[in-house]
Symmetry: C2
Subunit: 342 residues, 2 copies
């Protein structure tokens, strides 16, 4: 598959911001990791093995990071009502469970540069260990949360699975409209970020309008994150995200660049998309041809434009909080999440 | 596959008892059904379609029935603390979710005489709709339960998924010992019955020792139910359970009759089990041969003996409650659950 010349200026700003925020929340994240390790334990050795492979091995812990940051955004050493560490661990378990099931559904072979669990242990085991992680997350939120956080997290789980089924129902459907696609990625990505931010705020006794603000921040940050991810697949270099360029294309995955490109294509180009995406009949130089059409119609720029809209809403929603280093960092993180590509 | 002459005296006693109890709990079960229908609704049509196929179509609603019966076992028109209807619906959603994932893992083609969802819509959809049902159940228990019932139900979900993985880890392992097998069926079957009984009791303000009694009753009823189910596969007729005789055998599933038979077999017979179960290389008359060996070593009788033990414990645990028609019915149900076969 052809290597595309990256159009990026500064790939690593986002990574830098993640590191800065991770440092600010270091103590919390260490506690989250300790709790995760403890809760990966099971009397069934296979569960421990796979769950560890998935959870210990990788990932930036972005969702626990959001919970911790949103907790500290507002926390004033007042009496703590809830354990945001436990809730952050629950979020990471939900995230891991969805990754396991996603990889089964997408028939993915690699994640974060490693073989996926379904490749190593098979689909059956991945389905059941995903169920375990999901159950464990509910155990954690029952133990560490209250009825308000339980409602948010169980509602979020419903939205996630609805988003996944909605995506599957539109598999290879090039005519899916942008709005339905936004619903899909709200379910798949944004809703869990939103929950992560909300439970952080609730744990620090944020008021109602602040919790609404965090809900908006998380949702819009998540939308931004996913859209930039979509765009990267068609123009980035291999180093970002542990994700190979062209992965979405190879799987025939419908993402915003494709949706925009298909809508703007002439008949000949529409036939091309039909063949390579809907029928998944791909030849060696099809990826280059795809990029050519995508660029002809400015589909990456327009994907980023959508992402920029969501990032603007995310940043403005933080007005509900006083300035402090956590707020600065969340703003920088959101801004640089766009700069992963543009 | 050969038809085996049934050794049963009165197949339908159990069904009769289910009907009697269902009549006693009719009002509750109608409310549960209404709530289930309402909560099957989703903005994603595919979810509604599959979930309805699975949940509306069939099953005796045994778990909601247990919740309702255990609620009334103790209820004295005092102020209700919780909505046992909502919790009963949550239990049915958990049950449906595990059936969907089970059928994917077991590659089953039929359930209750109908094609399984994975046969109709594919494995991917079944995995994701199972996740939806599971999430929906947590939403319901968050709405209708309290921290005590949430703890029971989330703990139960962990036990269920651990049981499933434990079973998969021992797939085709003829040397699995009886104790590990009991752990598997406790997870797969008994734990959800136990939870169903407990939340019924908690909803009617049962005291601690009564809740312990219901926990024991549900667990031991579930163990009985599963062991009788195991035995039926090797000697019943086709009408019971909507399950075809020899299903477990055909799938090479390890159940107690096989575990007992393998342990008691001579080398030639052990080789037979190895071929037909572990290697799943089955010829036309292998099922008859399996029955012959199983009967030679009294493995059905001994499976029923184990079941009988659990049913005795179940019945005695109801001593914590005063006599009433619900108690009578639960005792009859437990006794006749054995008579499905012996």
């Amino acid at each position: 598959m052809a290597e595309i010349i990256p159009i990026l200026k500064d790939n690593f700003d986002f990574e830098k911001q993640v590191k800065t925020l991770t440092n600010l929340c270091k103590h919390d994240l260490e506690s989250v990791n300790t709790l995760i390790l403890e809760k990966l334990d099971s009397s069934v050795p296979l569960i421990h093995e796979i769950a560890s492979y998935l959870i210990i091995s990788g990932g930036k812990r972005l969702r626990p990071l959001m919970t911790s940051a949103c907790f500290h955004l507002n926390y004033n050493n007042q009496k703590k009502m809830m354990n945001h560490i436990g809730l952050a661990a629950a979020l990471e378990f939900i995230h891991a469970a969805t990754l396991l099931h996603d990889d089964v559904v997408d028939e993915s072979m690699k994640r974060r540069g490693k073989l996926t669990a379904n490749e190593v242990w098979g689909n059956k085991t991945s389905v059941l260990v995903g169920d375990f992680l999901f159950s464990r997350s509910f155990q954690l939120m029952t133990k560490y949360g209250n009825l308000e956080t339980l409602k948010i997290l169980s509602d979020t789980s419903v939205v996630i699975s609805e988003g996944e089924v909605l995506e599957l129902s539109n598999d290879k459907n090039l005519k899916i409209n942008e709005n339905i696609y936004f619903e899909v990625i709200n379910g798949k990505t944004a809703s869990l970020f939103s929950a992560a931010c909300q439970v952080g705020g609730i744990s620090s006794n944020a008021n109602k309008s602040q919790i609404e603000a965090l809900k908006a921040f998380g949702t819009n940050f998540g939308m931004t994150f996913q859209l930039v991810d979509d765009a990267i697949d068609y123009c980035s270099n291999k180093k970002i995200l542990g994700k190979n360029i062209g992965d979405d294309f190879k799987e025939g995955k419908i993402t915003l660049p494709i949706i925009l490109a298909y809508g703007r294509s002439n008949q000949k180009e529409k036939n091309f998309w039909q063949r390579v995406i809907s029928e998944l009949k791909q030849k060696d130089d099809d990826f280059e041809e795809a990029i050519t059409i995508i660029n002809k119609y400015n589909c990456i720029e327009d994907t980023i434009l959508r992402a920029k809209h969501f990032s603007n809403v995310a940043i403005d929603s933080l007005d509900a909080f006083k300035n402090n280093k956590y707020k600065d960092c969340l703003i920088n993180l959101t801004e640089t999440s766009i700069k992963r590509i543009a």
